[in-house]
C-alpha cells in the first residue's frame, strides 16, 4: 500500500492545522491589539498614584494632613524634598506620563522630579518641571528615564512664604499604538534574565508585569486556532479526530520550549563567561559574593586548622544581612558557626578560645584595643582582634579554654589592625 504524502504525513489535515494556526495568530494579534487599545492597558498596567500619605519628607519640616503632605519649613539650603516608594517597580518606558498636584508653590520656585531606579537605589536622578501647582509632562524623551523605577518624588528650591502641600503624584502608561505594542511584545519575548536567588522559586519567562506573557499569549493562540479548526472541521466520533488539537497543543508547547531553550543558552553563556575553566577558589571569587569570599579567605587564614567555634555577628541576621552571614558560614565550613546574633555573644555564651566574626556595618559595637575587649550597650567581651578590614573583623575570645580543648590551637598569620 502506498503511504500518503511525505514521510507518511497526510498533507490535507496538516494544511488544515497550518491554516488554523495562521488564523489563530491573526485573531490573537487582533484581540490583543483591541484589548490594549480600548483600555486594557490600564487593567494590566494600572496608574501609580502616590497621595500625600504615601510620601515621606526627605528634606524640610512638616507632616501629613488630610489635604496632603504639608511642609512648613524647608530643610538645609532651602530645600524641600519628598519621596514615595513605587512598590510595583514599574518599567519607566511603559510609564512616561507624570502628573503632579501641589499647593503653595511660589512664582520663583524651582520644581524638580526626582527618582531612583531598582538597579541603582543609591543614585537619585532629577529633572526640572514647570513650576506650576498642577501639571503633567511626558517623560518619553528623557534619556535617563530608564529601567525599573523604585521611588519618585518632588524637590522644590526657593522661598516658602506659606506651607507647601504635596497632594498627589501620578504615573500613567502612554497609549500604545500597534507598532509600539509589537515592539513591546518583541522586547518582552526576547528578554533574558540571568539566574538569581528568585530563579529556584519561579520562572517568569518575561517581566513579571509583562504585557504579553508568553504562556498566556500562546494559550490564546492555541485557543483561537483550535476554535477555528473546530468551526471549519467539527470533531467527529471517529479515530484520530483529536489529532489536530494534539498537534496544535504540542506546537504551542514547543514554541514556549524553544524560547526557554534560547533563554537557558543565554544564561549558560553568562555562566561560562564567569566560571568556566577556573578552579574552585577562582570560581568562588567570580561569584556574586566574590568580595566577601576574598575577605573570608583572610579570615580563614587566621582561624585554627581544626574547626573552631565561631559566632558570626551581623546587623540583621534574620533579614537584611542574612545573605552575608549565611554565605560567611558556608565559606568558612567546617568551622562551627552560629549566625543568628545581631550583637556579639555575652561572656557566658562565648568562651575563651571561641571566635567572633563581625560583619560590617554593625552599629553600636566598639573595640578597645588597649584593654582588648569588645563593648556594646552595657556589655563587654574580652577579645583579641586578629584581623580587621572594611568588610568586618575577627576576634578571638580571651579567657580560660573550656575543657582544655583549645590549648592546641595555634593562630596562623599575623594579627593586624
Amino acid at each position: 500500500m502506498t503511504e500518503p504524502g511525505i514521510l507518511g504525513i497526510r498533507l490535507r489535515p496538516v494544511g488544515g492545522v497550518v491554516l488554523a494556526m495562521l488564523g489563530g495568530a491573526v485573531l490573537t494579534a487582533l484581540v490583543l491589539l483591541l484589548f490594549y487599545r480600548v483600555g486594557g492597558l490600564t487593567a494590566v498596567a494600572p496608574p501609580v498614584v502616590l497621595a500625600g500619605t504615601d510620601l515621606k519628607l526627605v528634606s524640610g519640616h512638616g507632616e501629613p494632613t488630610a489635604a496632603g503632605l504639608e511642609i512648613r519649613q524647608p530643610g538645609p539650603q532651602g530645600l524641600v524634598a519628598v519621596q514615595g516608594v513605587v512598590e510595583r517597580l514599574i518599567r519607566a518606558r511603559l510609564y512616561p506620563r507624570l502628573s503632579w498636584q501641589v499647593e503653595g508653590l511660589e512664582r520663583d520656585s524651582e520644581l524638580y522630579l526626582t527618582w531612583v531606579t531598582h538597579a541603582e537605589p543609591r543614585t537619585v536622578r532629577e529633572r526640572s518641571l514647570p513650576a506650576q501647582n498642577e501639571g503633567a509632562v511626558d517623560l518619553g524623551g528623557e534619556p535617563r528615564w530608564q529601567g525599573r523605577i523604585a521611588a519618585i518624588g518632588l524637590t522644590v528650591r526657593g522661598p516658602l512664604s506659606r506651607p507647601l502641600v504635596v497632594q498627589r503624584l501620578e504615573l500613567r502608561p502612554a497609549a500604545l499604538g500597534p507598532v509600539e505594542l509589537l515592539r513591546w511584545a518583541v522586547g518582552e519575548w526576547t528578554e533574558s534574565e540571568d539566574w538569581s536567588q528568585r530563579s529556584i522559586n519561579y520562572t517568569a519567562g518575561a517581566p513579571l508585569d509583562a504585557l504579553f506573557p508568553p504562556v498566556l499569549v500562546v494559550a490564546l493562540w492555541l485557543g483561537f486556532s483550535a476554535a477555528l479548526h473546530a468551526a471549519v472541521s467539527p470533531p467527529r466520533r471517529v479515530a484520530g479526530t483529536w489529532m489536530p488539537y494534539t498537534v496544535l497543543f504540542l506546537i504551542g508547547w514547543l514554541v514556549l520550549d524553544l524560547r526557554w531553550q534560547w533563554d537557558l543558552g543565554r544564561r549558560l553563556e553568562r555562566t561560562v563567561e564567569r566560571f568556566a575553566g577556573k578552579d574552585e577558589t577562582a570560581r568562588r571569587l567570580a561569584a556574586p559574593d566574590g568580595d566577601l569570599y576574598r575577605f573570608l579567605l583572610e579570615i580563614r587564614q587566621r582561624l585554627p586548622d581544626k574547626p573552631a567555634r565561631l559566632f558570626i555577628v551581623s546587623a540583621d541576621p534574620g533579614g537584611g544581612t542574612a545573605y552575608q552571614a549565611g554565605r560567611a558560614r558556608y565559606h568558612l565550613l567546617p568551622h562551627n558557626s552560629y549566625i543568628g546574633l545581631p550583637q556579639p555573644p555575652e561572656p557566658g555564651v562565648a568562651r575563651g578560645g571561641d571566635y567572633v566574626l563581625i560583619l560590617s556595618p554593625l552599629a553600636g559595637v566598639r573595640y578597645h584595643r588597649a584593654e582588648q575587649r569588645l563593648e556594646w550597650e552595657n556589655q563587654q567581651l574580652p577579645a583579641e582582634m586578629l584581623y580587621s578590614a572594611p568588610a568586618g573583623a575577627l576576634f578571638r575570645v580571651l579567657g580560660g579554654a573550656p575543657g582544655g580543648r583549645r590549648e592546641e590551637r595555634g593562630v596562623r598569620g599575623e594579627a593586624r589592625g
Binding site: E3, L7, G8, I9, W195, Q197, R198, S199, I200, N201, Y202, T203, A204, G205, A206, L208, P213, P214, V215, L216, V218, A219, L222, F249, L250, G252, W253, L256, D257, W260, Q261, L264, R267, L268, T271, V272, F275, A276, E280, R283, R284, A287, P307, A308, R309, Y323, G326, R327, R329, Y330, L333, P334, N336, Y338, G340, V349, R351, P402, G403, R405
Partner: protein
C-alpha cells in the same frame, strides 16, 4: 580526567547499575516494552537512596565514613542483581538493540523513514541538547541557590571535611554545648537523605567539591525521565507518545531550574514521590506486585527526603481504599469517615502526645504535627498567585492548561459513568492532592509563601510528574492487560 572524577563516576554508576539490575530482574523475557527505561530510572533513584542507608549503617556500626565500604556492598549487590537478572532472562543483554529498549510500536522501517521515527529522533536530540545545557550549568556554576548553602549542603560539607556524620542540633543546644562537637543550622531537624546524597560523590572525590556534590541532581533528572518514559510504555503508550510526554516533563522550566541550580531537595522529592505514584497507578490498574513493591519502597522514602513527604504519604490512603474496596463497604467507610470528621469538628478537635515524637494537635483552627510544623487554620483566600503561577508565568509551560484538559476529559468519563477502578483511584488521588495543596496555601500561613512566590511552585513540583502521568492515563488508552500472571495480585 583526573582519578578523583573516575571515583565520582563510580559513585554515581555503581548504585545506578545495582538498582537497575535488581529492578530489571523483576521482569522476565516477556517483559513489556519499557521495562529497561523503567529499570534504569527507578534503579538510579533506588540505588542512590540505598546509598544513604548504607552510609547511615556504616556510621551506626562505628565504621569510619568512607567511600570504599558502601562501594563494595554496592558492587556485590550489582553482581547479585546481575546474576538474578541472568537467571530470570534468557537474553539479558538484548538491551543493546534499541528496538528492544523501546519495544514495538513503530511502523516497519521497511517502508522508509516515517514522520513518527523522524520526530522520535528529533525529540531525543532536543532532550539531549537540554541535558547538555543543564549539565554545563551544574559543572561550572558554584553552589548557588539559597537553601542549598543555608540548609541542604551545610551538612554534607561538614561531614565530608570532618570524615564523620557530626550531629546537627538546634541553636539552644549548640550554645549550651561546651565541647563544640555539635553543629547548628536553622533547619537542623530536616531529614539527612538529601545531604547524604550530596556527600556520597564527594567521598569518592576524596574532598569536598561542589560540582561532585551536585552531580546526583543531574542523574535524578535523567532517571526521572527514564522512569517516566518506561512507565508510559508499560501503560500502553507508543514509543513516540511516551517520549512526547517525557519531553513535556523534562522541558518544564522550573524542573530544569532545579537541575541547573542543584542543591534543593525538591527535585528529589518530586522524583521519589512522582515515581512512587506512577508505580502505584500501575499497580492499581493491573495488580502487578512488582509495581506495588516499587511504589512501597519509594513511598517509604518520602518522609526521609523532606518533611512534607510524610504528609504526601497519607495521600495514598484514600486512593488505596477506593481502589481496593467496592460497593457497600466503600460507602460504609466513607460514612464512617464523614461521621468521624463531623464528630471531630463538633468536639473541637483532638490533642494528644506520642512519647518520643511529641504533641499532636488536630483542631479545626490549629494543626500541629511534630517535626512538620504548627499551622493556624483559617481561610486566607487568594487565587491570584495560583492563576499567575500556573497559567501565566513560564514555570510550567502549558502544563496548567493540560491538567485542566485532563480534568475535563476525566470529568466527562465520570459523567458518562465510564470510570474504571484505576481511574477512580487516580481521581481520588488527584483530588486529595489538590485538597492538600488548597489547605496548605489557602488555609494556613503558607499562603504567604504563595503570595511571595517562594514555595508555591516548589511544593507543586513534587506533584508534577504524578499529575503529568495521570494526564497521560486519561488521554492515552491503556494497553490490554494480559491474563493473570504470577506477578499480578488483586
Amino acid at each position: 580526567m583526573a582519578m578523583e572524577w573516575w571515583g565520582v563516576a563510580l559513585a554515581l554508576g555503581l548504585p545506578w547499575l545495582a538498582g537497575t539490575l535488581w529492578v530489571r530482574g523483576g521482569w522476565r523475557d516477556d517483559a513489556p516494552a519499557g521495562a529497561w527505561p523503567l529499570a534504569l530510572g527507578y534503579g538510579y533513584v533506588l540505588g542512590m537512596l540505598a546509598v544513604t542507608l548504607l552510609l547511615r549503617l556504616q556510621t551506626a556500626a562505628g565504621l569510619p565514613l568512607n567511600f570504599a565500604g558502601p562501594a563494595v556492598v554496592l558492587a556485590l549487590l550489582a553482581l547479585a542483581g546481575g546474576e538474578w537478572l541472568r537467571r530470570r532472562n534468557s537474553r539479558p543483554l538484548s538491551m543493546v538493540n534499541l528496538r528492544n529498549w523501546i519495544g514495538s510500536g513503530f511502523p516497519s522501517l521497511r517502508v522508509g523513514v516515517r514522520w513518527q521515527q523522524l520526530l522520535f529522533v528529533l525529540l531525543l536530540i532536543w532532550l539531549g541538547w537540554r541535558f547538555a545545557l543543564l549539565a554545563q550549568e551544574v559543572w561550572w556554576r558554584p553552589l548557588f541557590p539559597w537553601d542549598a548553602w543555608t540548609t541542604w549542603t551545610v551538612r554534607p560539607r561538614v561531614w565530608a571535611e570532618l570524615g564523620q556524620l557530626a550531629p546537627f542540633v538546634d541553636s539552644q543546644r549548640w550554645l549550651a554545648d561546651a565541647a563544640g562537637s555539635v553543629y547548628t543550622i536553622e533547619a537542623w531537624n530536616y531529614p539527612a537523605t538529601v545531604p547524604l546524597l550530596a556527600l556520597w560523590p564527594t567521598l569518592a572525590y576524596g574532598a569536598w567539591n561542589e560540582t561532585a556534590a551536585n552531580l546526583p541532581w543531574l542523574g535524578v533528572y535523567v532517571a526521572l525521565g527514564l522512569g517516566f518514559c518506561g512507565q508510559a510504555r508499560l501503560w500502553g503508550a507508543t514509543p513516540l507518545t511516551a517520549l512526547i510526554f517525557t519531553w513535556l516533563l523534562l522541558s518544564l522550566p522550573l524542573l530544569n531550574t532545579h537541575v541547573a541550580l542543584a542543591g534543593y531537595a525538591d527535585l528529589w522529592l518530586a522524583a521519589v514521590f512522582g515515581l512512587a505514584t506512577i508505580a502505584f497507578f500501575q499497580w492499581v490498574r493491573d495488580g502487578d506486585r512488582r509495581q506495588g513493591m516499587l511504589a512501597l519502597l519509594l513511598i517509604a522514602f518520602c518522609p526521609l527526603v523532606k518533611l512534607e513527604g510524610a504528609v504526601w504519604v497519607l495521600l495514598f490512603i484514600p486512593a488505596l481504599l477506593v481502589a481496593r474496596l467496592r460497593g457497600w463497604l466503600l460507602l460504609a467507610l466513607a460514612g464512617v469517615a464523614t461521621a468521624l470528621g463531623l464528630g471531630w469538628w463538633w468536639a473541637g478537635g483532638v490533642a494528644f502526645a506520642i512519647p518520643g515524637l511529641g504533641q499532636f494537635v488536630l483542631q479545626p483552627d490549629l494543626i500541629q504535627v511534630p517535626y512538620i510544623g504548627r499551622f493556624a487554620l483559617g481561610y486566607r483566600g487568594g487565587w491570584d498567585p495560583v492563576v499567575k503561577n500556573f497559567l501565566i508565568l513560564a514555570n510550567w509551560h502549558l502544563f496548567g492548561y493540560l491538567a485542566l484538559i485532563a480534568a475535563g476529559v476525566a470529568a466527562a468519563a465520570v459523567v458518562r459513568r465510564r470510570v474504571e477502578p484505576w481511574l477512580r483511584a487516580e481521581l481520588v488521588f488527584v483530588a486529595t492532592s489538590l485538597l492538600a495543596l488548597f489547605v496548605l496555601f489557602f488555609l494556613t500561613d503558607a499562603q504567604r509563601w504563595a503570595e511571595q512566590y517562594t514555595s508555591i511552585n516548589r511544593v507543586f513540583l513534587d506533584f508534577v510528574p504524578a499529575l503529568l502521568f495521570w494526564a497521560l492515563t486519561v488521554l492515552v488508552p491503556p494497553r490490554v492487560i494480559a491474563p493473570r500472571s504470577p506477578h499480578t495480585t488483586r
